[in-house]
């Protein structure tokens, strides 16, 4: 069955502000957990999780001939960054978009849907 990446993007400064509002955050986590539970029950779950802010990110450039180069921060400097994602199994794009709609409501932000390249072997 095809697999899709559902990415949540948002303004990190806004995220930080929201973090202060515990009531809002608790509610959002509860919504996301309810969504995750439904995904698992319907057998669509592959993986999912929220990410720490990009200030915690490190970019690595590896090479066979030299030491790897490490850079502090995200690969792309942008106001809006990836905040979390799911990998879900869905029979087609309509099913993936239906999940994304519910995911977007649960995490209160836009969700980008991208198909993975290969269909996994065991189907």
């Amino acid at each position: 069955m095809p697999e899709y990446l559902l990415s949540v993007y948002g303004d990190e400064a806004e995220f930080a502000k929201q973090e202060a509002n515990t009531e809002l955050i608790t509610q959002m986590y509860a919504q996301v957990e309810t969504f995750n539970e439904r995904v698992r029950q319907e057998g669509a779950w592959v993986f999912g999780g929220g990410l720490h802010p990009t200030s915690s990110a490190t970019v690595v450039r590896g090479s066979n001939d030299a030491d790897a180069i490490f850079t502090d921060g995200p690969y792309i400097e942008a106001k809006e960054q990836l905040g979390g994602f799911w990998i879900l199994k869905a029979p087609d794009l309509d099913a993936a978009l239906a999940w994304a709609k519910d995911a977007s409501i649960a995490c209160q932000g836009p969700v980008e849907v991208r198909p993975f390249q290969q269909e996994p072997d065991a189907s």
Binding site: P2, P91, D92, L93, D94, L97, P115, Q117, E119
Partner: protein, 421 residues
């Protein structure tokens, strides 16, 4: 194959052309269902037509030309997939097995086209891609034709099509009629694409006139087939009626070049010679509007068609039942409160309560970036004798439109006003 008497009047070349026009889209749709691959389907159908052009002149026209094309294309697709299956993935092999096992089809399946239409008009595709795909896969227009109609280069259009087809394949956009819960929204998207196709053929007189006429004809044909495929969808009938009313006026819309005007130019509705309107199209459209009314589930296309019907009832512009038109706009506005509908309503109000009342309504609308707002304002100001303000409004309108025919019309009005001042 034997030549049957009913086809005797047709030459093989005409038969191929007719079959291509009427059935190539259907054959592509059926092959996409069978093989799950747009490119395989398109190529196989093209190959089938190439073979037809060699064989039909020798063997005669087959009794069921569309069936012949479909069977031949299916065979070609299976050949190709067999050739490629050694290096391609198992996905194709399984498609091949499925298709080879499927019962032989007598003719294209109606639902296949509807399925493909929903795929082409999928909301995950950009609006421009939806229109292009629909014209390519459903209407069977060539990439070059679509490119000319949209005034972009063939390379740009080819790239747009390739990208859209790749997204259908990679993201697994399904080939199916949407579930009931999604159907109304998805049907709106299909109707919007058909309407866009028509408008593209209607709005500009620039580009190739023949290609533009082809777009309008295809839009009417698509609207007709969606009415046929979804007879319970009142908005589809409304759209078909709307397009037919618009088509009925086509002969009166463009004035022939005369001694004074070297170029063709647009004729506005009140100035059109109504004896040129196509009576057959009008009566078909009126029949559709009556059917819509009896269903009593009004929507934007049905209401626009109803307004067009009121215009078509008037033998001269002066006899137009403006009160009824205002009422229909009120109804439309209640369904879809947009300033553009309010603008159209105000133009109708001018015919009942006079230009000053209408001008007040128009000035209250926030449509400064819309050329027709300026055109309508200029119109009303001119009728109130405020010549300089009217000319200024027409100038603003001209700045905001790229349409050469509209431009021409506006420039002409500015010149006429200057003569009055």
């Amino acid at each position: 194959m034997r030549c049957v008497p009913s086809n005797r009047s047709l030459t093989p070349v005409n038969a191929i052309e007719r079959t291509f026009r009427e059935d190539s889209g259907k054959a592509v749709a059926t092959l996409i269902r069978l093989f799950g691959d747009v490119d395989v389907a398109e190529e196989a159908v093209q190959e089938a037509f190439v073979i037809a052009s060699e064989r039909w002149p020798v063997d005669g026209i087959p009794p069921v030309p569309a069936g012949w094309i479909l069977t031949t294309a299916k065979r070609k697709a299976i050949d190709r997939l067999r050739r490629e299956s050694s290096r391609e993935d198992r996905h194709r092999q399984s498609a091949l097995i499925q298709a080879a096992d499927a019962p032989e089809e007598v003719g294209p399946v109606r639902d296949d086209q509807l399925r493909l239409l929903f795929t082409c008009c999928h909301p995950a595709l950009a609006a421009s891609a939806r229109v292009a795909l629909t014209l390519r896969l459903i209407a069977g227009l060539s990439t070059a034709q679509i490119a000319r109609a949209f005034l972009v280069s063939e390379a740009t259009m080819a790239q747009r099509l390739v990208r859209a087809k790749a997204k259908i394949r990679d993201a697994h956009i399904p080939y199916r009629i949407p579930r009931d819960a999604e159907l109304p929204e998805r049907t709106r998207s299909v109707l919007a694409v058909i309407y866009l196709v028509y408008n593209e053929g209607y709005l500009a007189t620039g580009g190739d006139a023949v290609d533009r006429e082809a777009l309008r004809r295809e839009a009417v044909r698509l609207a007709r087939s969606i009415v046929d495929l979804m007879p319970d969808e009142a908005e589809a009938s409304g759209l078909l009626a709307l397009l037919l009313f618009s088509e009925s006026r086509a002969p009166a819309r463009i004035a022939k070049a005369t001694d004074e005007t070297a170029e063709k130019r647009w004729v506005r509705l009140p100035d059109q010679d109504r004896t040129l309107w196509d009576a057959d199209q009008i009566s078909e459209a009126q029949q559709l509007v009556r059917q819509c009314l009896s269903r009593n589930s009004p929507g934007p296309y049905q209401l626009q068609a109803a307004i067009a019907a009121v215009h078509s009832d008037a033998a001269t512009a002066d006899e137009t039942d403006w009160a009824q038109i205002v009422q229909l706009y009120d109804h439309q506005y209640s369904l879809e409160p947009s300033p553009i509908i309010a603008l159209n309503r105000a133009i109708a109000v001018a015919e009942i309560d006079g230009p000053r009342a209408a001008l007040e309504l128009i000035e209250a609308l926030d449509l400064d970036g819309y050329y027709l707002w300026h055109t309508s304002r200029g119109d009303l100001l001119a009728r109130l004798g405020q010549v300089a303000d009217a000319a200024e409004a027409f100038r603003r309108a001209a700045e905001l439109t790229d349409n050469p025919a509209e431009h021409e019309l506006l420039t002409e009005r500015i010149v006429l006003l200057a003569a009055q001042a």
